[in-house]
Amino acid sequence: MGKQLFSKEISPFNGDISNSHLLETLASLAACMGKRKLDILSWDEHNITIPVNLTIDLPPLGNFESIDIRKKEPVLIVFSLQDYPRTAPVVHTDRLDFPKNKLAHLYVAKEERPPAFCYVRGSMNEWYATKTISDLVVRIQNWLRDAACGDLSENGEQFDPLRLEGYRGTVIYSYDKLVDIVQSNKGLYANSNFALGLFENTAKEDDVPSFRLEKIIKTEELGETLKKYIISLKELLEKKTFRVKKYHLGYVLWSNSEKTFTDYCVELPRTWEKFKVFCAEFSIELNQFEEFIASFGMHFFPEIPIITGLKRPKQIIGFSSTIEFINFYVELKSEDVSEKKIINNIPVHFQAHNEVLTTQKAQLISGSNLDFEGAAIIGCGALGSKVAMHFLRNGARNLLFLDSDKLSPHNLVRHALLAEREGNNKAVAMMITAMNMYRGEEIEDVNIGFPLSGDSFLNGTLSAFKKCTKWLFDFTASEAFFQTMLMPYEGMDYLQICRGHISDNGNLGVLMFEGRNRNPRVDDLRYLVFSQYSENDMVRKWLKREAEAADKGINLVVGVGCNSETTVLADDTVSSHAAYFSRIIKKQVGKQHSQVGRIYLQHLDEDEGHVITQQLIVEPLVLTKATNNPSWEIRIKAGIIEKMKSAMGLAMPHETGGVFVGAVNFKAKTIHVVDLIDAPPDSQSNPVCFFRGVEGLPEKVKEVNSNSGNQLGYIGEWHSHPFGPECMSTVDAATVRKFKTEFVESETRLPVFLTIITPTQLLCYVY
């Protein structure tokens, strides 16, 4: 066996070891191996290596596929003289006859060296940071035991791909697309075993090339694609700017034979001659390809990517087929070619593969199956862009971005987009970002952005999109758009509408989901949040703070617009709400449109930094039109009418009544009723009349105003007609006239809103 050890060919290390960690480790290793002294050999100028014999626990029924793993396995442990222990030891087999071509989990060997064990998934340095040399010895013993048992592969039913180390650059392509090329033998010409591809070199000029496969060029597209290629080259030469893409022509190469191969190739070719041997080992015919590449005068850059497809007997772990791709690029110059042959032994390098990102892959990585079935994201500002980026990164498709604003420099302080999109329309920039993320998508228009406001979606301008949209997300913080959403546009009832905004100096995030058939609607949800002041401490304090700010002359903005330079709001605050909103939305998507509305609140405590969240469920409201003027809609919180009926019953045979708490929206011609104030104690009534008193009433209304930050207050009155009539009486009409006269002169503009409840009817009057 002596002659078959690599260590026999390397010299003893004669230098001094000054690294105290290394000295201690060598002592531990000696103890672990039961040796008084270790042989220290020189690996290279920076590393030493220690040859040791490891005892391996072999399986009782013989090694898997009779692989030649022995009870005593000689290995070489390589230590960095300077960087140990930050740099983990690398362990190589010492056997020159080690069955390296039969085993996965070996790194591709560096020239003239035996291969190293891939003993940890991920970074060896990270693993070794918490381990000792004896742990490493155990791990290598277990590696060899697994190899003997056939347990090295994570999935014995599949083929473990080659481990690459020491690659130069990466190449990005869709594995499945290349598999289709190989399996269908879609060569450039009939019977050719190679395809031509257009590759973008994404590396900086002085860096080693990294490629991204832009497209496989079909024979019929050859002329057109080469034209594009030449134009890009011209631009590159003229403009010398990084904005111009640098294209290389490259190849996918495979075997036409159906034969499959199990052998690994841990010594990848580094020269053209060895590349030819490599191809021959895997039955890849090279003559026709060499002739083409040598005579095709379109290679303006010497680096030519060549992706070779090896046919394996089982599906490759982590991929969908039996084809394993090994990626190379050659450096071919004009002087290397003569008479349709490559005459010099040109350098060959291998590259790592990166799979293009698809929404499907993003969903897999995110553990998400987000499917909006079409969603319009109105408002791509700070909040909207961040929530949308969460959706995108979860692999969401079919998003329509709408925003009429452009990305200004100050937006970068709290926007998901970065400086490269400065000056672009925000919605279009989101679309481009999405496209760039998912270049591997089959459909290019998976996500679309238009430089338009949300109105264009509602008013029919984008009717084609509206038809295939299930969700509408409003992140505009725009009161104008909020009002627009209350307009009775066609097709709105089928939408699931969700609105998110930030308030309370950025400390409160409010996310609202409308109920089925827009009941409750966003305006209902807004007022019902305000009506929580009586029972919800978080809401009461928030509204009070807003009211105090209003008193100080600061405009009360419920829903901060983040696009203003003057708005003080940190990026992390917006991100916190955006992440919360995204998580909640993901939970709701896919569920049946709920009959109830939902409000989610997230409060960020400014002092302590903790986070409080709440969820409120809002039952559908009672909706009715004003009897005298059906253009007015009355939206009454669930339970209010029951309270009125109950009071009517209790007061029988007398009439009774009270005051409504709520708000009016003249634009939408809507009155919201969220609560009742009982009739004051000085009220009087008989079977035909109710005289609403005044005692304590102003104080109660003031309390409502104060606790709701002036968002809610007196909005109208009601009384009962327990025995009819089912219309206003003359007394009622006189009161209305009196109130109308008064309200016209009032500072606060209010309609006269009077409601009569009878045992069978609810009669609302708005004047």
Partner: protein
Amino acid sequence: MASQIKYYPVDNGDQSLISVEEDSYTTNILVDCNIRESCKGDTDATQFDAKKDLVASLKKKKVNDVENVSYIDLMILTHGDKDHLLGFETNFYQGDPKNFKKKNKDDEEIFIDTLWFSPMVMGTAGNSDEKCFNKEAKRRIQLHRDNSLYKDLPGNRIVIVGKDMNEDLSGLDLVRKVPGDVVKRFNNRDLKTFSIFIHSPYQEQLTEEEIDRNRVSVVFQARFKATATSVDFCTLAFFGGDADHEAWKTIIEKTKKYKNDTKEEALTWDLFMSPHHCSWTYFNECPQEDHPEPVKTSLEMLDYKRGVAKVIASCKEIKNDDDNPPHYAAREQYVKKVKAENFLNTATAIKNGKTPQPIIFEVTAQGPMQPKKKEGSAQNAGTAATGTLTKVSSYG
């Protein structure tokens, strides 16, 4: 986790746990039990806490409304001798499963879904644990005899191994297995990677006028396959209680007669638990001095080993003296067949300080293997079990 067999160090006694992993479900099969009260806790470093480890190894299930009950899918009793049933009375739940209460769980009573036993349970018990076992077996038998609605509920299930002429067991053939049977269904679940070949006891042994309790031990071969589609067995393990050379002779003759040695590989083994705690009775009559030559069939049985097979002697440390069991001459016979490195004595094979540890074999496609060595860490903290914490430190 891989399927595995764990042989507990219980001195001269048997306790083994077979754990079959299939479709994310572990079927736990306990073969005999031997839980000494003195092993519990850490008062005696020379004894392994077989109860604590057993409880930790079992999956937890809900029984009635009680959560996290330690649950054995089936317990196979080879025979009722004390060293094969020690601690049954106090450590295992007995009685109607509907009456299992939180108190039973708090008392760490282990719930047994199915009981496997020979017809010997109908006879006279030789010790208090056997008395309890027989009582529990009879309770379950009665439900089956009565065709009770509850007979097939977990905690009531039974399998009778072997057939005698006892009329009380007549009509129970649906829950009976006899030598030559291959069992693949356990607790209403068909297993694809595990089966049991029943070897013994035979009817003629059970119906002898004077029944030899050891001779009628339940003997079986536990058979594992690497995957559901594998053709070959990757682990074959023999359990034979205290079966003596006569019993093994019958096993070999009958198995060969029905060609199950070839058809079913029913005599082949990778792991062989030396019967009767490495007693000479496996090889011949005692005393050994009077019968020094091993009988041919016992040696022949050992020749059915394959690959690097292991013999496990579940007994106290085997010394070169006249003790029996374990018997030194018996050890020598085993060593001749498998080499000393493959003869594992539960008392000495693996030790943590003074405490013997269970011998575990994991099922791999290439045969049963002891677990991989465990890696340590460069970052640790002492636990409450750190030895020095329980000892006085003296400083001068």
